[in-house]
């Protein structure tokens, strides 16, 4: 395939102290594509995701997003881009415990200046889509892990991001709940045209992707986009 990538990383290197986490990673993500990032624990999967999403700055190499060089942006610019274009789902939902579920999902919209009523209307629509509208008024401490992860997916999707970064999104769930979350996440992203970078060590989770790349010892084998 020749479609230009929406997100493109070249020669990424990142070390934490003396420990190398990435040792030359190349990666490309097309618009709307779901790519699984696989590899053993400690291979550099999460570091790759953090570099791609502009959460950490690599020691060397570049990340381009939609024609702009993410690695050359200021912290403020990257932060603004993350809010406008990216959505995040982590292993543990990381919902704000003091807010209700609908307030949690509405939060990214509120931070962008949306009025409460409209933000919560859109949040409710996503909770419904993720089949958890009944927990809207509950706080994260009052719901199950599977429900919490669906709320987190709703929060990632509510701003209509172009890329969703999911780091072991089913890691804390049992098989049945994990599969349901994956089905809902990939269906919703396909419907909205969002691309997904899915970090997982589970093959059954990776099977929801369009293709996979493998990170081993900080190197990435992305046959399609190798430099």
């Amino acid at each position: 395939m020749t479609t230009a990538p929406l997100l493109r990383a070249s020669g990424l290197v990142k070390a934490y102290g003396p420990t190398p986490a990435l040792a030359g990673a190349d990666f490309g993500l097309r618009a709307g594509e779901v790519v699984a990032v696989m590899g053993p624990s400690g291979s550099g999967k999460s570091t790759l995701l953090h570099c791609l999403a502009g959460i950490v700055r690599p020691d060397a190499g570049t990340v381009h997003y939609d024609g702009r060089e993410l690695t050359a942006m200021t912290d403020g610019q990257r932060s603004a881009l993350r809010r406008s274009d990216f959505g995040f789902v982590f292993q543990f939902g990381q919902l704000v415990p003091e807010l209700t579920c609908v307030e949690n999902v509405a939060l990214p919209l509120r931070l962008d200046g949306e009025r409460r009523k409209e933000a919560e209307r859109r949040a409710r629509a996503w909770l419904e889509r993720l089949e958890v509208e009944d927990v809207a008024a509950k706080r994260p401490g009052e719901i199950s892990g599977g429900q919490g992860q669906r709320v987190a997916v709703a929060r990632a999707l509510v701003t209509a991001p172009r890329v969703i970064f999911a780091d072991e999104p089913t890691g804390a769930l049992d098989s049945l709940n994990g599969e349901r979350v994956m089905a809902l996440l990939t269906d919703a992203s396909r419907d909205t045209g969002a691309a997904v970078v899915l970090v997982t060590h589970e093959a059954r989770v990776a099977a929801y992707s369009d293709r996979e790349i493998v990170v081993r010892d900080g190197s990435v084998r992305d046959a399609e986009w190798a430099a």
């Binding site: 053993p40 089905a183 093959a203 059954r204 990776a206 099977a207 996979e212 493998v214 081993r216």
Partner: protein, 174 residues
């Protein structure tokens, strides 16, 4: 497991008699099921007929004559092709994959590629089953899940083997 390809691969390190081939095969791959002499000779005559091996010399002795076989260029290409082609994911695949990995290391080829190609093939099938499961009824889901869990077990073995390749290569070189 393909005995023909395995014997061909063993010939890459140099010409051997049928008896040596059987011994090398049993030592590496025949833990539970050593080869019969008949299997070795019938396989070698098929490989000879297909031009994948040639007779390198004949020793006349007290007993039956002993042919020494050498692999041909076409034979090397055939091994190469076999190693590079993923196996159809199915139960008890491990013995074939184990043979491929050991043979690749024995013949100085990398084994990473074999494992990567096989992982892609497994995941391709897992994606197909996942799609079928999503569109199917509960019976379809249960049937697909059974296959998916088995494929996942294979993949875990592939990952573990990939993580142990350096050690395996060292042991084989000893």
């Amino acid at each position: 497991m393909s005995i023909g390809h395995t014997l061909l691969g063993l010939l890459e390190s140099g010409p051997r008699h049928g008896y040596d081939l059987k011994r090398a095969f049993d030592e590496r791959f025949g833990h539970d099921r050593p080869l019969h002499y008949g299997q070795v000779y019938s396989t070698m005559s098929r490989l000879l007929k297909n031009g994948l091996v040639e007779v390198d010399g004949i020793e006349a002795g007290g007993g039956p004559e002993r042919k020494r076989y050498a692999i041909t260029e076409a034979g090397v290409t055939d091994v190469e092709h076999w190693l590079a082609t993923p196996e159809k994911p199915e139960p008890y695949l491990q013995s074939t994959l184990y043979t491929k990995v050991v043979l690749a290391l024995l013949t100085g080829r990398g084994a990473d590629g074999i494992l990567d190609t096989q992982r892609s093939e497994h995941l391709r099938l897992m994606r197909e089953l996942t799609r079928r499961k999503k569109d199917g009824d509960l019976a379809d889901q249960l049937i697909c899940d059974h296959a998916l869990f088995h494929l996942e077990a294979d993949l875990r073995w592939l990952e573990l083997t990939a993580a142990r390749l350096d050690r395996l290569a060292e042991e084989i070189r000893r």
